[in-house]
């Protein structure tokens, strides 16, 4: 592919992921210039989407820009990593107008800041003052439990695994009991006719 040699000049590697999918990884300092050269030199004029992924364990967000050419016959993912704390990205809305709404959404859902973005207002959530909800340390269940009362109706659920254990133990106990009973019975019988037992032992 022609793009691969062009990227090699910038000492970047193009990885083919699927039939129509390629991926370039770049650090944050070179991101803006690389996206601009994708647009102006390589002919990738369409920005299909900006995706954000929260890698909580490693402490960064992984941002993926998906670009397409005029022919729209393949997709190139340009991927970069930014710190989770005080996350900030250069805004692309002057180059691609649709980036405005994608960045607005990312600002609301992940708390990524875009210096120079004109409309970082509410997207889908109104008057949200909690942690950005798509960060992975935001616990949905805890939030819902603290906000909404639940109807009390399903208190009678049983833990099947414990029930299984209980039943198994009950079975074992029953078996032991039965064995014991059988033993005492046998012992009683042995007491009643001691001669038989002696014979058996012989």
């Amino acid at each position: 592919m022609d793009l691969a040699s062009k990227l090699e000049r910038l000492s970047l590697e193009l990885v083919q992921k699927q039939d129509y999918l390629y991926k370039v990884t770049v650090n944050l300092e070179r991101l803006e210039s690389l996206l601009l050269s994708f647009l102006n030199e390589f002919g990738y004029i369409t920005l299909d989407s900006i995706n954000c992924r929260d890698d909580l364990e490693d402490g960064f967000f992984t941002i993926t820009y998906c670009l397409q050419t005029k022919k729209r016959d393949h997709i190139v993912m340009v991927q970069t990593k930014i710190q989770r704390e005080n996350a900030s990205l250069p805004t692309m809305h002057t180059i691609w107008p649709q980036a405005e709404i994608m960045e607005r959404e990312m600002h609301e859902m992940f708390g990524v800041d875009f210096p120079g973005h004109p409309t970082l207002i509410d997207f889908a959530l109104e008057y949200w003052d909690n942690m950005p909800p798509l960060r992975r340390d935001f616990d949905t269940l805890e939030y819902v439990n603290s906000m909404n009362p639940f109807r009390k109706q399903r208190g009678d659920a049983l833990d099947a695994k414990e029930e299984m254990k209980k039943k198994r133990e009950a079975k074992k106990a029953a078996k032991l009991k039965a064995e014991k009973e059988a033993q005492t019975k046998a012992a009683l019988e042995a007491q009643n006719n001691p001669s038989d037992e002696v014979k058996d032992e012989e």
Binding site: Q153, L158, A160, K161, E163, K167
Partner: protein, 136 residues
């Protein structure tokens, strides 16, 4: 501006449908056939249910509870429990029937339920062997 004669006259062909037979059903008298394999309400054959709680585990809506049944059940049931489904949460994805090891849990093609009390949406699957056996 010229009048679009075709555009004025051709929609009038819809008048012809006045003389056609209506396509709707007169509902209580005539009912639609529900095909086999429709994802309706649950049935559970207690004779074969083994109480393994696979259905409870896979249910992403946490709609299934395992409880002790009032009636007689499979003596080989390992936990003595059978599933009960909260129809306020169920989404009828039928994953629970897909994972059921003895395939005792199935979906019937009945799908009407009316109740005033929301607590009655806890649905105990009907104890029948096969779909469509006991419709009443």
């Amino acid at each position: 501006m010229a009048i679009d004669i075709k555009g004025v006259l051709s929609p009038l062909s819809a008048i012809g449908t006045l003389f056609e037979h209506p396509k709707t059903l007169t509902y209580p008298q005539a009912k639609k056939d529900i095909p086999v394999g429709y994802r309706g309400f649950h049935i559970n054959n207690l004779e074969t249910c083994i109480g393994c709680a696979s259905c409870e585990e896979i249910c992403m809506n946490e709609a299934i509870d395992m409880i002790h049944p009032d009636i007689e059940y499979n003596p080989k049931n390992t936990s003595g429990c059978v599933p009960r489904i909260d129809y306020g949460r169920c989404c009828w994805c039928s994953l629970c029937t897909d994972v059921c090891p003895p395939s005792s849990l199935k979906l019937d093609n009945i799908c009407t339920h009316a109740e005033c009390d929301p607590d009655n949406f806890l649905y105990m699957p009907k104890n029948i062997k096969n779909i469509g056996e006991d419709v009443s």
